[in-house]
Symmetry: C2
């Protein structure tokens, strides 16, 4: 599975052992690992090395060890948290440009909208309505707060879509786009116009999802992302974005 570069460090043995035990079901969430001292004895290694292993496992989100807990390190339930973190690290340091991120967002948001239109519950609609109110209020609160409200809108939809992968990838990518945007484009003073446009867009998406019109919700996502960002990317990337709009039967803004 992993490459041939065997890691000779002793703590790795513990890491591998625990990882396998969790993957194999011998360790279930809520179970406890032996204490550090006992692990050291079992693997015949020093406690310092055990602790390095535990730090790695902890960072991987597999366990958590709390100070002075006599029951030993806790095996955690699987969570998207660590994946989220490492994706965020990658997207923020990997030299991603706007085009690459937005193209992915067109895919992720459209799918989230499509799925959400079918799965949304009344509670989801309530949450979306509450968010719309927050968003309107945020127009005067500044673009940072507005950006967060905007993020929340999409995250509610992603959650409603009922697919944790769509949700995970979408959330991370949206945050990355937002970060990039706030650092680059937002020099214009037509910021206010943009915010109003966003609110209008959200209202349309909300209506489509409430109507259970998935294809429309999907199309709106792609058309809007195109309208927002097409002018900020190169020709090649714009053509790709246009392809993505056309793929779902969307229309491009007429601007020859």
């Amino acid at each position: 599975m992993t490459g041939g570069d065997a890691d000779p460090r002793v703590f790795q043995r513990v890491v591998d052992h625990v990882e396998r035990a969790i993957a194999g079901g011998e360790l279930a969430p809520g179970d406890r690992l032996p204490s550090e001292r006992e692990l050291g004895e079992r693997f015949a290694i020093a406690r310092t090395s055990v602790r390095e292993a535990l730090r790695v496992l902890e960072h991987a989100g597999l366990i958590r060890s709390r100070p002075r807990d006599p029951r030993g390190p806790l095996v955690l339930a699987p969570s998207p948290g660590p994946a989220r973190r490492s994706i965020a690290t990658f997207t923020s340091t990997g030299g991603f440009g706007l085009a690459e991120l937005v193209q992915f967002r067109m895919v992720a948001d459209a799918s989230a909208n499509l799925l959400a239109a079918r799965r949304r519950t009344p509670a989801d609609l309530v949450a979306l309505e509450r968010n719309t109110a927050r968003m309107r209020a945020a127009i005067d609160a500044g673009y940072v707060e507005f950006g967060l409200a905007d993020l929340e809108f999409h995250e509610i939809i992603a959650r409603a879509a009922g697919n944790r992968l769509v949700q995970l990838y979408g959330d991370v990518t949206r945050e990355a786009v937002l970060g990039l945007i706030q650092r680059t484009i937002l020099d214009a003073d037509d910021r206010h116009t943009l915010m109003l446009r966003s609110v209008r867009h959200h209202r349309a998406v909300f209506a489509a999802i409430a109507d259970r019109d998935g294809p429309l919700a999907s199309r709106l996502a792609r058309e809007t992302l195109y309208a927002y960002y097409a002018e900020h990317v190169g020709d090649d990337d714009r053509e790709i974005m246009a392809d993505l709009v056309r793929e779902v039967g969307g229309r491009l803004p007429d601007r020859p």
Copy 2:
């Protein structure tokens, strides 16, 4: 940024500091961290704690420290590797069912095909052709080898798509689906038929990509995934899958 649960452990200070330094550009790939002993002095903590910090940073893919390297731990270039690993952990332990994975694959594969149709280079086509040959040969080599060849086909396309997020997410999800399939469905002895069908499908996708017909390549991906897996999921999920097929103008297999 992170929640309010401040981690009081001393090694966390080092982790945070290095993470920030890398994110802020003060540390670039190829740079060296101070030695463990020196880090300990600077942060006024013991070397054991420094080592825990280094293990975490190493696991996050930010640095690498090699034994007896007098130049100190190396700052690594951003890589999708850690993200891949943690996503794989999540998808394999998170209790994902076939439906959730396949629905995401429909999104990811279709997008990869669409993008690849536009971006593919002659070299990509050569690689795909080579893979087709490998695949044909694998029909007699058993379904494990066949599965790997199938994976490779999609990975070549994902790479050709020129979007690292599409590539990352698609690759991981495909592996998860394959693992799930090989553990569940593959009891039937019509395995051979399935493999032939796969080869046929790949040929069609290859032609579409060679023709630069992105919409067709995208549609083929969704139709085929539907045809393969629709019967193995519940009614609700099948309807979602049908929505995904229709979204790109695809047709459902007539089977009333």
